[in-house]
């Protein structure tokens, strides 16, 4: 009870104000509605408190409270030494973060969006990812690269790319893609505590979305293990595998399909690399059908990798039809709203693919 009250008060003036405005009688609930933004904020706050080697750097993270307000209040609490505003040079500050990690600190390096990480990608891959191996295990790089990934709304080609496939391609990196607040909080804490470089792919459209968080998931030592997927909805007819925002779309599609008697099992990958193939395989061995859903482009993407892995493993013999991939359209993201809507997977596209796969 005490823990949840502390969390309730800490999770923001927002929550208190809303409740006060509505004149609702306030008794602290065991489960709580927490936005993804607040979950990430809490995770960082707790890890900054727990280990003084942890620090956050990036553009606008300190005095502006973060470009998307994810680091709200942290500079006020921890000051210049732990929360650092950088000049505009992704390559520069990613390099600085990697150097700091090599010298014994535990940086959280924020990219305003992962699109801008391309400016720094040499530091991420050639320095952060490969160093532990290249040094025969002598030099770890305990760094977290985090920021929004994938499509937002009306930000066009240079702000909408999904980098899950690019980073997950590289040995030496762990790549994580949370969906809800529990994922966000637990995975970020695990990422910060992990001695490996972790690419933490957030989603801007999810920042403001509240999800229910259990009392257990609000505890200071709650972590979600990296490398384990979660079955969000058990089912028997078909397996839907997704990550980030599209897990929500899959659940929506499953709800619609349930009314027609089609029972979908929805898997939230949580981690892209290492991929929890076992979870997907067990599911396919039960349902015999698989649809992958992602926001990124189709070629050489997350769905493509899942198809290959299923083919290579025991679950292949259990498939009653080929795997279908639902992905973003293979074009740079256009700006106009109607074009953008048609460039990303919609719930109706998932429903269509399920029915096609099941031949109904």
């Amino acid at each position: 009870m005490a823990t949840s009250l502390r969390c309730f008060l800490r999770s923001g003036k927002q929550a208190v104000l809303v409740v006060a405005r509505r004149g609702i009688h306030r008794s602290p609930p065991a489960a709580l509605q927490v936005t993804v933004r607040d979950a990430l904020n809490q995770a960082m706050d707790e890890e900054l408190e727990r280990d003084e080697r942890v620090f956050l750097l990036g553009e606008e993270v300190a005095q502006y409270d973060g470009a998307y307000k994810v680091s709200r209040g942290l500079w006020k609490k921890y000051g210049d030494k732990r929360i650092i505003d950088t000049p505009i040079s992704e390559m520069g500050f990613a390099g600085i973060a990697v150097g700091a990690a090599m010298a014994g600190l535990r940086p959280i390096c924020e990219f305003m969006t992962f699109n801008f990480s391309m400016q720094a990608i040499d530091q991420v891959i050639n320095s952060a990812a490969k160093t532990y191996y290249m040094s025969a295990g002598l030099q770890p790089v305990p760094i977290v690269f985090r920021g929004p990934n994938g499509a937002s709304a009306g930000v066009a080609a240079q702000h909408s790319q999904c980098f899950a496939a690019w980073y997950a391609h590289c040995p030496g990196l762990k790549v994580v893609s949370p969906w809800n607040s529990e994922d966000a909080r637990g995975l970020l804490k695990s990422a910060i505590r992990d001695d490996n470089p972790v690419v933490f792919l957030e989603n801007e459209l999810l920042y403001g979305v509240p999800f229910e968080m259990s009392e257990e998931s609000q505890s200071k030592d709650f972590t979600v293990p990296i490398g384990k997927a979660k079955i969000e909805r058990p089912g028997t007819h078909i397996t839907l595998v997704s990550h980030s925002r599209y897990v929500g779309h899959c659940l929506d599609a499953a709800a619609v399909l349930a009314k027609e008697g089609i029972d979908c099992e929805v898997i939230n990958l949580r981690t892209i690399r290492p991929l929890d193939v076992e979870c997907i395989e067990s599911s396919v061995m039960k349902t015999n059908h698989l649809v992958t859903v992602e926001g990124g482009w189709p070629q050489f993407g997350v769905g493509a990798e899942i198809c290959a892995r299923i083919m290579e493993g025991s679950a292949f013999n259990y498939l009653d039809s080929p795997v279908t991939r639902v992905t973003g359209v293979d074009i740079p993201m256009p700006y106009a709203k109607i074009l953008e809507e048609h460039s990303l997977p919609q719930v109706k596209d998932i429903i269509f693919s399920v029915k096609k796969t099941l031949n109904v």
């Binding site: 606008e60 930000v155 709203k337």
Partner: protein, 299 residues
């Protein structure tokens, strides 16, 4: 042209390929001069009176009225589009409040076929070149009349006809591109110049360093125009850099540099006109740092 002159090797002078200088026998570090840095060139005082008559560009009344009309038009268009964004009718907008002088003064000093690379706060340059209001609006609203067919975010204008390269979001990528373009134009022998606009924050990007350095080594007819408005989103200049602004970096790259009052349209005009003339005549880059102020909350 930029090689050391050969001299008698028996002289007590340094003979390093990397630098040409004299010897000095006492230890002294060169101080970065940020207290009294590079002076700010201006033509008008704060009341708008010409201070030094020999610096008066002596433009016709028509021309000056056009400057004023364009600056006011830009400001008005900004207000309408900014409000559209606040009302959710367009998803994104960046205003030019406070920096109109930098756009109009520099645009007026160029030839119409000079190539412009902007960052995202140079709509006045395009407006000065006659881009119609309808097309500004069409681009922001991403409607069927948009030249870019709805592919680009608002304010990402481009116009081939008016030699204005389409705005690209990632910061400072236009700087080395401008250098490359200037090099190409030099080889074409067309007496065209390139102007490359960017903010003082974007100048922190690695691309800026590469662009500046190469423009000098490749001897390009190029004007780098830095709008130093004091802020990059919320980051003030004293956190962006510790040196004497952007103008002081120019000499480090071998570039002729000047700092001007960006709010003084005649100063901007004079500096750009002279830089353009010499950039083309002498095939070398110029750096103009226009000091101004961003009169809007963000970006």
């Amino acid at each position: 042209m930029h090689q050391q002159q050969p001299f008698d090797s028996s002289l007590e002078k340094p003979q390093f390929p990397g630098a040409s200088a004299e010897f000095v026998d006492h230890l002294e570090f060169i101080q970065p001069n940020v207290i009294s840095g590079i002076a700010v060139y201006r033509v008008m005082d704060r009341q708008g009176n010409i201070i030094n008559p020999s610096e008066d560009p002596q433009l016709s009344k028509e021309t000056v009225l056009n400057f004023y009309q364009k600056m006011t038009l830009l400001n008005t268009m900004d207000r309408i589009l900014y409000e559209s964004q606040r009302q959710g009718r367009i998803s994104f907008y960046m205003t030019n409040y406070g920096e109109e002088g930098t756009h109009i003064g520099s645009a007026a000093a160029l030839e119409s076929n000079d190539l412009v690379f902007g960052q995202y706060r140079e709509a006045g340059v395009l407006m000065y070149r006659g881009f119609p209001l309808d097309l500004f609006m069409a681009q922001c609203y991403a409607n069927a009349d948009d030249l870019g067919k709805g592919r680009q975010m608002p304010v990402h204008y481009g116009c081939k006809e008016r030699n204005f390269v389409t705005i690209s979001s990632p910061l400072a990528t236009q700087i080395p591109q401008a250098t490359g373009a200037a090099y190409a134009l030099k080889r074409e022998n067309t007496n065209r110049a390139v102007i490359c606009y960017f903010g003082e924050g974007a100048a922190s990007e690695g691309d800026a360093h590469a662009g500046f350095n190469f423009s000098a080594t490749l001897e390009c007819p190029l004007i780098f125009f830095c709008r130093n408005n004091g802020y990059a989103i919320s980051t003030p200049t004293n956190e962006q850099y510790r040196g004497d602004g952007i103008a002081a970096r120019g000499p480090g790259y071998g570039m002729l540099s000047i700092r001007v009052d960006g709010n003084d349209v005649f100063a901007v005009y004079n500096a750009t006109k002279e830089a353009r003339r010499r950039a083309v005549a002498e095939n070398q880059p110029f750096l103009i740092e226009a000091m101004t102020y961003r009169l809007v909350m963000t970006c």
